[in-house]
């Protein structure tokens, strides 16, 4: 089975104000293509940091990340940005839609970053919004949408470029139970439909149990409940 994600010996320490905070020192993680994986664990163990490292928006202090056979560390910042635009989608807990723009403009951004003309980018964005059930809401500002709708727009934005890897950081963490179900069902549907490799960080055991694989992260390490086992 081909590996979509392979991380070896990852180390990350945050050095901001105050004493440095070591998140992990030697973390390894692998995931085959087409798998929907859930990562669970208490707050502060580095789940979001792991996603950022896998997506190349943060750089590890040590170790190596390969996504779809490409070592992210070996790419220049520009190449890494292009790779991310083409192959990796991100969904954040707080949707992070840009409030100055409408839903369809938000979804069109990945295309526009890739250089797709504005009109064509918006047309594709409308199609995708229709797919997530928000055809009528495209012209609304991000603030005018409900929490569930905002997260569905964020999901559409993450999928805009047809990525092969989707990284979702607590995509339902900020939603009520009903909206969580809707968003997670949609995410699962799109995952199957598009044959993506998806990593979902979640605190919800019910949702996690519906994934293909479950990883548990703790201070001691990351453990695969099925299949792969990693150590820190």
């Amino acid at each position: 089975m081909t590996l979509a994600i392979r991380a070896e010996g990852l180390a990350k320490t945050y050095t901001g104000e105050g004493a440095p905070v070591k998140v992990f020192g030697d973390l390894s993680f692998e995931l085959p293509e087409g798998v929907l994986a859930a990562v669970m664990g208490p707050s502060g163990v580095g789940k979001s940091t792991l996603l950022h490292l896998l997506g190349g928006i943060d750089r590890p202090d040590g170790g190596r990340v390969e996504v779809l056979g490409t070592a992210l560390e070996e790419l220049s910042p520009r190449e890494r940005a292009r790779f991310r635009n083409a192959h990796i989608g991100f969904v954040f807990q707080f949707h992070h839609l840009l409030p100055e723009f409408t839903a369809e403009e938000n979804v069109a951004f990945p295309h526009r970053i890739a250089g797709v003309p504005e009109g064509e980018a918006l047309r594709r964005a409308r199609e995708l919004l229709a797919r997530v059930g928000l055809a009528e809401r495209g012209g609304h500002g991000a603030r005018a949408l409900s929490g569930g709708e905002q997260q569905r727009v964020a999901l559409a934005r993450a999928l805009a470029r047809g990525p092969r890897v989707l990284l979702a950081d607590e995509p339902t963490g900020n939603l009520d139970a009903a909206s969580s179900q809707v968003v997670f069902d949609l995410l699962r549907e799109l995952h199957r439909e598009r044959g993506m490799t998806t990593v979902v960080v979640t605190h919800n055991p019910d949702l996690a149990s519906r994934c293909d694989r479950l990883f548990t992260m703790s201070r001691e390490g990351i453990t695969a409940a099925t299949g792969l086992s990693e150590r820190r």
């Binding site: 940091t49 490292l53 520009r78 940005a81 992070h96 951004f109 526009r112 934005r157 470029r161």
Partner: protein, 392 residues
Amino acid sequence: MRFETSVALRYLAASRRRAHVALIAGISVAGLAVGVAALVVSLALLSGFQDRIRRQMMDRTAHLRVSAERGAKLADPERVRAALEAVPGVTQVSPAIEGRAWASNPADPSAIPVPLRYRSAASGRLGAGTGGARITGAIAARLHLGAGDGIRLASSRSRLSPIGPLPVTAVVPVDEVRRGSALDKPGEIEVSVETARLLSDTPAGAAAYEARLADPESAAFAASGVARALGGGYRVETWRELNGPLAFALRLEKSVIFLTVALVILVAALNIVSNIALTVVEKKRDLGVFTAMGAAPRSLLRIYLTLGAAIGAIGTLGGLLFGIGLSLALERFRLVPLPSDVYLLSHVPFAVHPAEVAVIAAFAFATALGAAVLPARAAARLAPGEAIRLSR
């Protein structure tokens, strides 16, 4: 439209909804506009005065002057005259004759003689045969003379007479009393060529020949034609070169005023720095999200440079419209009057020169853009993961 441009313009438009950002953005734009307007009005004021001096320069000095490269006199004055007359656009050619004399009032023996330099008139208004003189207001006052009175000129040269050497003298009518101008030298008088020849004892030839042109702006082109026709051994100068020190002083004055008033624009640029830095901090999360979507650091840089350019364009355009409008109104309606008996002008003149406006616009826009570079580079260096992590 590029995505960076859309984002920058939307940020600028949306800042109206955030009072503190709107205030700083407003101050940035207004500061730049005030600086630009101040520069436009200051330079228009200077240009108004300098244009008048320039016109006087063209009016009162020869447009072309040909003198010998070595020696006090032209070796072949007729050849020089012919060469000047052959230049298209030349309206008058006259010899330049200069010397020193004492001037006095023949009708007022109590008036003290005044030492001065005389020179043959270049403007041609003292035509051949009139024998008149053009004097400055200062000389007229000292000698109690007015237009139509006679003036006695005693040359520093002398002639032999039965009673010994006597100075060469001439009494000529005063054709014109000039009111003071920047170009008038206090001890100088213009006389006709005939009077100058008599006083200097130069019956023929001249130290130089001077010409006037229908279009003084073409003097440089005409000068090169004359120089080619005459070959070596001659010095051909245009009115710009003849008034070089004054022209330099005027340029220097304008440069100093530009640099001084431009400080207002530099202060406005500091506001732009703080405005864009504030937006970078406010939109830190967006920068992280753009990076997650695949935007390269260069794109983030471009967003904020475009924001600086937009603020620069709005401020510059506003300042230009206000400054040009105000300058034109000040000139058109003569809003700043002057006592004409003191200043020779009835109002403060303003002249807007398009080239200067272009320089001001370019300077202001470039400064605004430059001000955006520092915060824009900070945005491009931002760690996206941290931006997203800290903005939860």
